[in-house]
Symmetry: C2
Subunit: 173 residues, 2 copies
């Protein structure tokens, strides 16, 4: 699972594919001076081993009306579970296996505006990357979703004024 050997040729293939994921196997083979068959075998191996997680089209948020990009730091309640079950005798108990962190993570998966979420070091627990149309949309997201979530106790938002660099290409060479 972890130990997949990646040699210099593999790295060159990866460097090419993470810049242009639609190049034909023939083109790639030509650029690395290899014939198509071993090149394809290497690509398939990299795909199956999970080094290549997938192929995607990158879209332009501006042209799709997503003019606002926000990074939101979130702090969660840590003690106890948010939803308590009430037993038939009237006593309450924490649902086992439903911590604040777990519920928050599940919510994050379900919010399409949130395109990334990391647990972070520092005084805030999570950082969210949020794509929305405009401030009205952002405001709705905050009121109805994020601040409405029972586990969230504090948030701190910064907006992107300008994107200086934005690449999915990892530094692998």
């Amino acid at each position: 699972m972890a130990g997949v050997e990646i040699d210099a040729i593999d790295r060159r293939i990866l460097a090419i594919l993470q810049e242009n994921g639609r190049l034909s196997n023939q083109d790639i083979a030509e650029r690395i001076n290899l014939s198509p068959s071993p090149c394809l075998r290497r690509i398939r191996r990299l795909e199956e081993s999970g080094v290549i997680r997938g192929y995607v089209a990158l879209l332009d948020p501006q042209r799709l009306g997503l003019a606002l990009l926000a990074y939101v730091d979130v702090r969660l309640e840590k003690r106890g579970g948010p939803a308590v079950s009430v037993r038939s005798d009237g006593s309450t108990s924490r649902r086992p296996g439903a911590t604040h962190a777990e519920l928050f993570r599940a919510a994050v998966q379900a919010w399409p505006e949130v395109v990334a979420c990391h647990a972070m070091t520092g005084d805030m627990d999570y950082m969210l990357r949020v794509h929305v149309e405009d401030m009205a949309h952002f405001s709705r997201f905050m009121q109805d979703q994020l601040l409405h979530h029972p586990s969230v106790i504090d948030v701190k938002t910064s907006f992107s004024l300008d994107t200086i660099k934005e690449t999915t290409a990892l530094p692998i060479l």
Copy 2:
């Protein structure tokens, strides 16, 4: 340049392509109940208008030895230019058109560890997303590159403990 009409069919094509950028035109046409030719024409229009910025392979940082992901907030010097030219008569002057911001942005483009950089609202000026192998690599990047840059006057780093969500797919439906 901005006003490209995108109808419901275009959006469905985009939704498919931003999940799997290697689907054949035939497959996409089938999924949206269209024949291959008009489907391909729409895709080409979306590519040429810049709605589709490109196609890439996404790689797994862990399996490539990039175990550490950091977000670094940066504050820049704002008054004056960093490099002063000395005239032949011995007087000094700012190089015109070489502000701190411009030099910093150029440096960011040249650092492969920095995969994203935004100008941000708030008390810090820029936020960087940095992929490195380990803490030793990060330390070298900070000492030799970021803190060494003449325009940088303050930095604040947070590390990713866990990635809860990470998608390039924008919320377009």
